[in-house]
């Protein structure tokens, strides 16, 4: 099917469609107070669980306060896992036939995924604020002033947005909601093979290589650096850990550059 480039007017109505789709996804959340409560308690639980239960057993070089080491990791981990909710959301729409109805309507097809990821991003911002507040209550601080702090949050949101598009693409590829849910459980180990909880230096060599090249590790290192929290390794490390901000921005942009066109094409093109 030949697709002509959108004109300004179609771009504007496409954006309006995107806002409508976003609105739709936010409305859904409103009907699930349980999920809202879960979104708000999970950060508290994570900080308590990892900060206090594991924290006593994990010794970190250059800092006696584990929460200072942990918080950047938790913020990035929460972002990565939260952003992946697009995976099940899109798979659900597909399997319920809602996507078929949308495809038969004169709306802009690209607006579906953009609206979905925008809604997810808004939810992510709230999650980030809540978890940071919980961290502050339990003694975490950002030490480098307003600029680097905002930079760190911006980096987390960029990372979050990239992962939400990755989820959207995967969600449009799987055939059922169950497959999507199963795929999501794989995310946790992938996120955990990183420096979120412990420095990679103590890991077995093979695992350490994987962890050091994991974009999650780069994002966490960048945040530790920008927040002025302990755990930024010196000396002999991999390129992403030595250049964490660049590596994070780079990997996020690469993910976006790959996933946005592919995910949009999945919806733009007529389905099979």
């Amino acid at each position: 099917m030949t697709q002509t480039l959108p004109r300004a007017s179609t771009l504007a109505s496409g954006l309006a469609d995107g806002v409508t789709v976003m609105n739709r996804n936010l409305r859904k959340l409103r009907h699930k107070p349980g999920q809202i409560i879960a979104e708000l308690t999970v950060p508290v639980m994570m900080v308590l669980l990892f900060g206090y239960i594991f924290g006593s057993a994990i010794a970190i070089d250059g800092g006696d306060n584990y929460i200072e080491y942990l918080m950047p990791g938790l913020l990035v981990m929460g972002a990565a896992l939260g952003a992946l909710s697009t995976l099940t959301a899109i798979a659900r729409d597909n399997s319920l036939g809602v996507m078929d109805r949308l495809r038969s309507m004169p709306m802009a097809r690209w607006a579906v995924t953009f609206g979905q990821t925008a809604a997810t991003l808004l939810i992510g911002i709230v999650g980030l604020v809540v978890m940071s507040a919980v961290g502050l209550i339990f003694g975490w601080r950002a030490h480098n002033g307003i600029g680097p702090t905002l930079g760190a949050f911006g980096l987390i949101l960029l990372f979050y947005y990239a992962v939400s598009w990755l989820g959207a693409l995967l969600g449009s590829l799987v055939d059922t909601e169950e497959t999507a849910t199963r795929l999501m459980t794989l995310a946790l180990p992938i996120v955990m093979i990183s420096n979120v909880f412990v420095p990679t230096a103590g890991m077995p060599k093979a695992l350490q290589v994987v962890a050091d090249w994991n974009p999650v590790s780069a994002a966490v290192t960048a945040c530790r650096d920008l927040f002025g929290n302990p755990g930024v390794p010196f000396g002999d490390t991999t390129w992403p850990i030595a250049n964490p901000v660049l590596a994070t921005v780079g990997s996020a942009l690469v993910i976006l550059a790959i996933c946005i066109p592919l995910a949009v094409m999945r919806f733009q093109k007529n389905a099979d």
Partner: protein, 330 residues
């Protein structure tokens, strides 16, 4: 009827999924204002055809025009003219009924106020306003399907595609959907309806195309299709009546002198007659003048089931609940 006059016009439509040939050269002409039934068993290609007509998927071959526009080159124009209610109720379970209609209205580019108004109106008209602000997850199957149906009517489409609109519904909900479809057709909407239920096609459709394994195997009015295999005269004989004598007398009115089916145990004889070729009084008179003594006699018109069996050589259709058959024959 030309491609321009027809509301749906398909010529040589083919669609393949890997090795599966879902549609192999479908020709279809649906005139404006009619209710067209696409009747076929599971896997015949009904949903695939609807998905092509509704611009959800592209055909592999052939030409398809809907409302005068080509579904491939002018898909966007087509989308402004159509409504779709899928086989699986395509409404958002995590929203209320009202929100579903409002959001779809907005995506049909209605203004906020107009979308709100339309949602209220439709829920009212189709007796769902009591559940307007409840989550769709709490709806019964019938309510959900009705919501799906009215979601396809937000912009009062010229053409409505209904893919097995009553599959899996209880008899009462099915009647409600049938009433709605009739009202829409009366209002001038062209409806293309797929079904596995024979009496559904019989009751609603002006024209039927029977589809099997991706091909249209027959088309015509329900009456035409039934006429193809004619009717049967069934006779139950008096205990004293000689079977052979009765069979001989009945053979003279059978279509093309076909052999009668004789059941000596039940003492019944059944013969094939051409559709509408003979009336019951004529049969009775014939039996009387031939001196055949009967307990009971009747003319049985074929069901579309039998038509289908005859056309495809296999029994594919789902028998519908029988209580409906009794109460809703025209």
């Amino acid at each position: 009827m030309t491609a321009q006059d027809a509301v749906i016009w398909a010529h040589g439509l083919t669609k393949r999924f890997g090795k599966v040939h879902a549609l192999t050269g479908v020709d279809l002409v649906v005139p404006p204002g009619s209710c067209y039934g696409l009747l076929g068993p599971n896997g015949a290609g009904k949903t695939t055809a609807i998905r092509v007509f509704a611009t959800i998927t592209s055909p592999d071959g052939g030409e398809v025009r809907v409302a005068g526009y080509d579904v491939v080159r002018e898909a966007q124009q087509v989308r402004h003219q159509i409504g779709l209610a899928g086989q699986y109720a395509a409404v958002d379970e995590d929203l209320t009924g009202w929100e579903n209609l409002y959001i779809f209205g907005r995506l049909f580019r209605l203004g906020r106020r107009k979308a709100r108004q339309r949602a209220d109106e439709l829920l009212d008209e189709f007796a769902l306003s009591h559940a307007a602000h409840r989550l769709v997850t709490t709806y019964s199957g019938g309510m959900r399907r009705r919501l799906d149906l009215i979601a396809s009517m937000i912009i009062s489409p010229k053409v409505l595609f209904l893919d097995e609109p009553t599959a899996g519904l209880d008899p009462r909900s099915r009647l409600q959907i049938w009433d709605t479809v009739r009202a829409l057709v009366d209002g001038g909407t062209t409806v293309l309806l797929t079904t596995q239920y024979l009496e559904e096609a019989d009751l609603l459709a002006d024209q039927i195309a029977v589809i099997d394994a991706g091909t249209i195997v027959a088309r015509g009015t329900p009456r035409d299709l039934k006429a193809r295999i004619g009717s049967r005269v069934d006779v139950v004989l008096q205990p004293a009546q000689d079977l052979t004598e009765a069979a001989a007398a009945l053979t003279t009115i059978a279509a093309n002198n076909t052999e009668p089916d004789v059941d000596p145990d039940r003492r019944t004889i059944s013969i094939a007659v051409a559709a509408n070729a003979i009336t019951l009084p004529e049969v009775v008179r014939h039996l009387d003048t031939s001196g055949i003594e009967v307990l009971d006699v009747g003319i049985r018109h074929p069901s579309l089931d039998e038509v289908f069996l005859r056309l495809t050589g296999h029994q594919g259709l789902t028998p519908a609940p029988t209580d409906l058959e009794a109460s809703h024959h025209r």
